[in-house]
Subunit: 428 residues, 2 copies
Amino acid sequence: MVSIAELPKHVGEKVQLQGWLYNRRSSKKLQFLLVRDGSAMVQGVLVKDEVAESLWDLVDGLTQESAIRVEGEVREDARSPGGVELGVTGVEVISGSPDYPISLKSHGPEFLLDHRHLWLRSKRPQAVLKVRDEVTFGIRDWLHKEGFINVDSPIFTPNACEGTTTLFETEYFGSQAFLTQSGQLYNEASAMAFGKVFCFGPTFRAEKSKTRRHLTEFWMVEPEVAFMGLDDLMTLIENFVGALVARVLENCAEELKVLERDTAPLERAVPPFPRLSYPDAAEILRGGDTGFEDGGDFGSPDETELSSRYDRPLLVHRFPSAIKAFYMKEDPADPKLSLSVDLLAPEGYGEIVGGGQREESLEVIERKIKEHDLPKEAFEWYLDLRRYGSVPHSGFGMGIERAVSWICGLGHLREAIPFPRMIHRLSP
Amino acid sequence: MVSIAELPKHVGEKVQLQGWLYNRRSSKKLQFLLVRDGSAMVQGVLVKDEVAESLWDLVDGLTQESAIRVEGEVREDARSPGGVELGVTGVEVISGSPDYPISLKSHGPEFLLDHRHLWLRSKRPQAVLKVRDEVTFGIRDWLHKEGFINVDSPIFTPNACEGTTTLFETEYFGSQAFLTQSGQLYNEASAMAFGKVFCFGPTFRAEKSKTRRHLTEFWMVEPEVAFMGLDDLMTLIENFVGALVARVLENCAEELKVLERDTAPLERAVPPFPRLSYPDAAEILRGGDTGFEDGGDFGSPDETELSSRYDRPLLVHRFPSAIKAFYMKEDPADPKLSLSVDLLAPEGYGEIVGGGQREESLEVIERKIKEHDLPKEAFEWYLDLRRYGSVPHSGFGMGIERAVSWICGLGHLREAIPFPRMIHRLSP
């Protein structure tokens, strides 16, 4: 038994493979079977005059997604994907698939999402999720080569530190626990222990918004580095994103073709990326028609307007301190600004990375906790990181589904995760 | 600025590094600084007669975990870890660390767990979590090389499919969601789409037991393979575990030494592993003093008794169907038995892998759902996998903390995860 991906190594040989019938076309004299086994797809050909009538009839009755064992001769065929086709000499049915609900014609998104467990077998989700796999493994591979170690932060957290409105909550043996929205605070403890760390896991947000940019459950990678300032962080982010995109371009050319992704914008995502300060960005947006409010966070139209001015991803740095979390370090040159940075993907995909330098002074961070009206007790352990050998440090988070959506050119995050969870979707 | 791990490349050079003071010893004429930066540790030496008095005095006042910048000359020193030491010529204090709570003497486990955010800086947790990093990355690396793709299963699930007693629950926009205990059912859908898949994420169990073998939040890798039966699954498991252990032995020799791990049992974990059927295991246990109940699951003493008879991990297969989940395939040779398998680690570590062949017949699995008194509606999507191109398939799950505990020789799972969560522990 060989896998379809290995067929090019077996040209001229008779082989057996097993998989599912993806599609079948037939004329009076020929039948074409498209067979998939997860590793790849291959076209099998039957010529009526050359095969037994029983085989011809059996194949003629096969429906989409039947599980089959196929025997045949591997032939070179330059026009086929993988460069080979199969001259079919035998077919055995493992199990049938009557009335398979997903035809190769188009279906509405709700129908497809209701059948996500089957939809995964179709070409487009296969391509997207293979890119996702390349991205997630590429992230780990790159970070390890750069000397990072994976230190996972907990999912259950004891305090609703930054407001409860978007937190999921669970009963925890008589008390309450909240599902993490970010591993960052824990990451800071890990960075003081291991220097360069990352956590990478699911995070949760009880988003009531039903936009194409929101999931309730999404995966995030968060690197954190001791002794790193904002400038070096921006270099880290651009090298990280640049390397990931380059890796996908190299290893997923076939998948990007299936997705009809214009790869030109990806090929331009080569560091260094342009860097724009928030004040300069505000200068551009002020008086425009994006609805930008001075001193406020960017809306989607603001992000699109800004990134349309550049040919590659854009680093926007130094957002106002007032709109950033308490742990974000103030810019010594202007404390109204923070040493924060967002990476905006081109083509209207908006923010895919957010990060910054963290405040390392105990005194300042105690003041910020008070200003943000947060319960200090909950942060005692976090303050310990400033009491014992505090050093400058920085980090960022990248949402996996947002990155995959941009790289694949998707219209909605829900396609970028195997089993999406949204306000009105908790199944299958 | 160089990292401590890179020092061997700089012998004879003057370098600057930054990190934290792990320990300091001094006599009248000499001071020894042990400095860590997350990448490694190095010993710095000051000779009183050779340095300025101000430098001597500054170093003399440094406390554990002070953040410092150190300048010095890299010298070969065969006795030191990494083979180098540093002739210190300058020290600059980045920030102090008065009254650091964790001394190098011993502390009780509760105290250390309460200070986990700082305890991570100590040698032992550093070693364990570096092994964990090697294990988790090694898993992904090995599976990718074997042609698996990572398809993550969801954390939020709509139904309490196998009883609610150990499930965590959360309000989900007016309805209920449960936190996953296993990605397996979803994995089966993914395997029918991609052939060879794995999910790898946190799983949750509201365990009220307070044993050293239980966490409420733990990580699990779950590979699943289409067209695979039990025998090939056992081969997959032994190759997987064997490769992981070999990788750790190769890349984490230093860490295992810190942990004083006897590596002999690890070196013997070379496939093939012995295979023992449940009936044969029961034959051994029957009449012994482990408290074994015929037909029941193994307790910890049973596992220890069985594995003590072999020199490497043990595969026990064909547990009674009655004690296994509804989706486990019955043995065609004896339907009272299931095509299931556990891997028992040696030295009393017990089960670290559990898996089996899944039932692929729609008719049988519908009957099993009825017998297990489960709500059929909740499984309609899962039954679709048997309606459309059903094929034999198998998979397993390995608990990361259990595997790391065995490899590191730990007494409790809580040390094998950065921030452990147990019935009485939800912080820091």
